[in-house]
């Protein structure tokens, strides 16, 4: 199948596209470093606010989480990038991606962290409070460490999804890895750069996938 190899695994084209793709990878990594911490922070806020005994606080949160978990992130990005200017709000591609991912991620991370916090027995909280720890300190030192540990596989899995999802930024012309690959593809009339991008994703994510498997296994064993 010489045609197949030349088309999809054309080393010459890959070599030529590599510097451009690495630039794209740089943008992808930058994006990940921005949206993952932002998403986790937003998710933590969601999870903590959800503990409020007040319905007025919990109801909007449920709506928020449900909405952004159900709403396609691709549409969200396009709406932020191309739709907001009609409302007189002009934001750049990077800002649109940051906001879009923040909204989407905090909903997902929020659900994961909420489940984690709820998995910590109430007695832990009571023991900490009974020694005079304030609510924030009891949360920080006693509940959260256990909550995170209990949902660590979900957190890692979610983060893997987020890394892959950053390729959505290509629709608003943010030059991340996939966008770079598609540019290279259209310049060379050859899909090899796309395959190269896939390989880069694979190499980048594989260690984390391994880690995830091990975490999941450990959770099963410790149960």
């Amino acid at each position: 199948m010489p045609g197949f190899v030349e088309t999809f695994f054309n080393l010459e084209i890959m070599r030529a596209a590599l510097p451009y793709l690495l630039q794209g990878l740089g943008t992808t990594l930058l994006l990940v470093l921005l949206v993952v911490p932002l998403g986790i922070a937003g998710g933590l806020a969601v999870a903590l606010l959800y503990r409020s005994p007040r319905r007025r606080v919990r109801w909007p949160l449920i709506l928020y989480v449900d909405f952004f978990r159900a709403f396609p992130p691709l549409v969200l990005l396009i709406f932020l990038y191309a739709g907001l200017p009609f409302a007189g709000i002009e934001i750049g591609a990077f800002t649109a991606v940051a906001i879009g991912f923040f909204l989407n991620n905090s909903a997902y991370y929020g659900e994961v962290l909420r489940a984690g916090i709820e998995s910590v027995p109430r007695g832990q909280w009571e023991a900490a409070r009974s020694t005079g720890l304030s609510a924030p300190r009891a949360m920080l030192w006693v509940v959260l460490p256990q909550a995170v540990r209990n949902v660590l596989p979900d957190l890692v899995g979610n983060t893997l999804e987020v890394v892959k999802l950053t390729s959505l930024a290509s629709v608003v012309a943010l030059p991340e890895l996939l966008f770079a690959a598609r540019q290279a593809q259209s310049l060379t009339y050859n899909p090899s750069p796309i395959v190269l991008a896939a390989i880069i994703y694979l190499v980048l994510l594989w260690p984390f996938v391994r880690l995830l498997s091990r975490l999941e296994h450990r959770m099963l064993v410790s149960r």
Partner: protein, 248 residues
Amino acid sequence: MQREPPVLSIRGLRKSFGATEVLRGIDLDVRPRELVFVIGPSGSGKSTLLRCCNRLEEPSDGSILFDGTDIRAPGTDINAVRRRIGMVFQSFNLYPHMTALGNVTLALRQVLKKPRREADEIAAAALARVGLADKQGAYPGELSGGQQQRVAIARALALEPKAVLFDEPTSALDPELVGSVLQVMRDLREAGMTMVVVSHEMGFARAAADRVVFMDQGEIVEEGPPAAIFGAPQHARTRAFVDQIVRH
């Protein structure tokens, strides 16, 4: 001794969960160095009574004075009160992600703001006091139930509380491990600690309690020295409960 003001003074304490009234007007004084034993059938409100004393449960009505502080007053810093009332739980509630030493030092460092070295020293002494000097580095999962409960007691003691509340401290333990925890409680009593104990260990109550309080359906039915409550209960409900316990 009777002249000293009570450490804990409860008046007209009521607590409802929804429509269910669990405590129906409790009056109780606990004097310094006294060991008060609270007994009664399950659902009688014993645990709720304890949990109201440091406001883990919010009382519905009544007043609780601890060491002269009205713990329900709006201006009261409940965290400051709680660090002076130790609490020991049925299910130990040790922090599983911390060593025995870490469990004891957390409040020392975070609440009392002790530097690490001092906190470690206090915690080591507290662990030694409950016979676990060699278990500082052990995680709760590596300890037996009895050892875990003793670490929990050390965690409470390290803050030098004015009183310690025990909420069924031995109920979750295998029978052969109960003795070590009771021994620690006996030592505490010898050392003059003020204690309120909710427990089914009637033998311990007989031997160590200054006063036994019998509760039923959210009320204190009868109280007195152990010999009187177990030997000659005045009230029919007390008699029925004591008979049942003795027979089993």
